[in-house]
């Protein structure tokens, strides 16, 4: 390495100060101005996290939020060179650490993940897929929106304001988050376990609604009834309108 140990040490000391706010004297540094670096660096990180996690920011007190951000940035070496991707590392940090706030707010881990998923789906690269918007819902193979994620939550973090969620809300909540192809907006649809199973099948490739219903019924040893088919049709009609189902297989 061409860099002398002293030079490295001075650079590391300034970087460490920016991360932790704890200043140890560095030769030649104007102490009355060096605080600008800590302020600028911290503001970038704090702004980005607030932007990615607005619901979490609203849930936590200012003291809790600031303590969390300071702890995260001090202890965690941020790996992403892309600052917009950095907030994912907060979720990972909190989860891996089993942070005390996750115990105070039992639903916080899911809330953080929901917020990050929304960012990721909004920002992620396009996943080109072949489809046509012209088709028949009852007979043509359906194509799933490729920019989507299936998710299961124990708390209804997608349905209720975080401050109103209680232990009584604990349950099983299934949803599909997806990016609308025209607007880029990220939205979600609530799902039943049966619908999750059908979407998982659809993930493997285009299939007709009828085939999806029959495979699920066979797996669960249920008869294919007119009611089931009608319920499936109602769901897929809505899914097509909202673009969770992006269209039909191109013949």
């Amino acid at each position: 390495m061409l860099l002398h140990e002293d030079t490295y040490r001075h650079q590391a000391a300034l970087a460490d100060y920016c991360r932790t706010g704890q200043y140890n004297a560095i030769p030649g540094v104007r102490e009355q101005h060096v605080g600008q670096y800590r302020r600028l660096v911290y503001n970038v990180v704090d702004d980005m996290l607030q932007s990615a996690y607005p619901l979490t920011r609203h849930l936590l007190s200012t003291r809790e939020w600031n303590a969390m951000v300071k702890e995260f940035f001090s202890n965690h070496p941020c790996q992403s060179p892309q600052v917009w991707y950095m907030p994912r590392e907060l979720y990972q940090y909190m989860t891996q650490k089993g942070h005390r706030l996750l115990r105070k707010y039992a639903f916080l881990q899911e809330l953080l993940w929901l917020e990050w998923l929304e960012v990721e789906l909004f920002m992620m690269e396009d996943r080109p897929t072949a489809y046509t918007t012209i088709g028949d819902l009852t007979t043509d193979p359906l194509v799933l929106n490729p920019e989507y994620a299936l998710q299961q939550f124990v708390y209804p973090v997608h349905l209720k304001p975080a401050k109103e969620i209680t232990a009584a809300d604990k349950g099983q909540y299934f949803l599909a988050l997806f990016r609308k192809p025209d607007s880029g907006e990220v939205t979600f649809m609530n799902l039943s376990p049966a619908l999750v199973a059908m979407l998982e099948l659809l993930q493997e490739g285009p299939q007709t609604m009828d085939a999806l219903v029959r495979q699920c019924c066979a797996a669960w040893q249920l008869p294919v009834t007119a009611d089931l088919l009608a319920a499936a049709k109602a769901f897929f009609t809505q899914a097509l309108e909202s673009r969770l189902i992006i269209g039909f297989k191109n013949h």
């Binding site: 300034l14 560095i26 950095m86």
Partner: protein
Amino acid sequence: MVGIGFRKDFAVNLLQSPSFNPAFIEVAPENWIGVGGYWKKLFNQALEKYPLYTHGLSLSVGSPDELDLDFLQKVKCFLQENNVQLYSEHLSYSKCDNAHLYDLLPIPFTADAVHHVSRRIRQVQDFLERKIAIEIVSYYTPVAPELTEIAFINAVLEEAGCDLLLDVNNVYVNAFNHHYNAKAFIDQLPMDKVAYIHMAGHEQVADDLIIDTHGEAIIDPVYDLFTYTIQRLNRDVPVLLERDFNIPELDELQHEMDRLQAIKTANLKKTAYVIA
């Protein structure tokens, strides 16, 4: 030609405005690599209208850490895919001890840092198979300096064989913060290496400190320094207006770009006349 930093805050207005006419746009590759959906559509629309210049934020050429070659590969692909005219980075570091800091820290002005940074810039240029331009950053304190700022910069430019992105506002800010003459500083720069110029506003936060915010209009003394720079340069290079925060109406940005272009035109014409 005078361009503008393509910011998400005014991307839609920029694309829709018939009276806003930058000659090119500039982005940080970091903010667009791996991005799809809504922003990608706007970005693609912008690319249909404007040539693209780029100004990196995270390569951290001044870092003690190893270069992130995976990231550099992504930058290379981005430059190729988007027909980028020029790639520039900062003479600073934003990563240390394997941790990104997301802002630009000053490199100690030392001889060993010159060799270290220069080797890394050469490595980047070899990897990207193109020359890059390195920007003089604004700084608010020196760190363990052994050389003067100008000696450090000139040594890096010489040893790295790279171009210079001359941020005129940064020179003004540094001259104020560190008590030297901005014009004398510019006199000492190798003008033949200037490939690109940045112009921006700043904020004075204390009697003895200016912060390079990109959040205000360019002030007259910086325009004056720009005029002086163009006269010294004596040739046309692309100029970028940076505005990242506190975004005004596009008319105001257009007015700033027009003023920059007028200074270029007037001073380059004058020079041509004198030579003739």
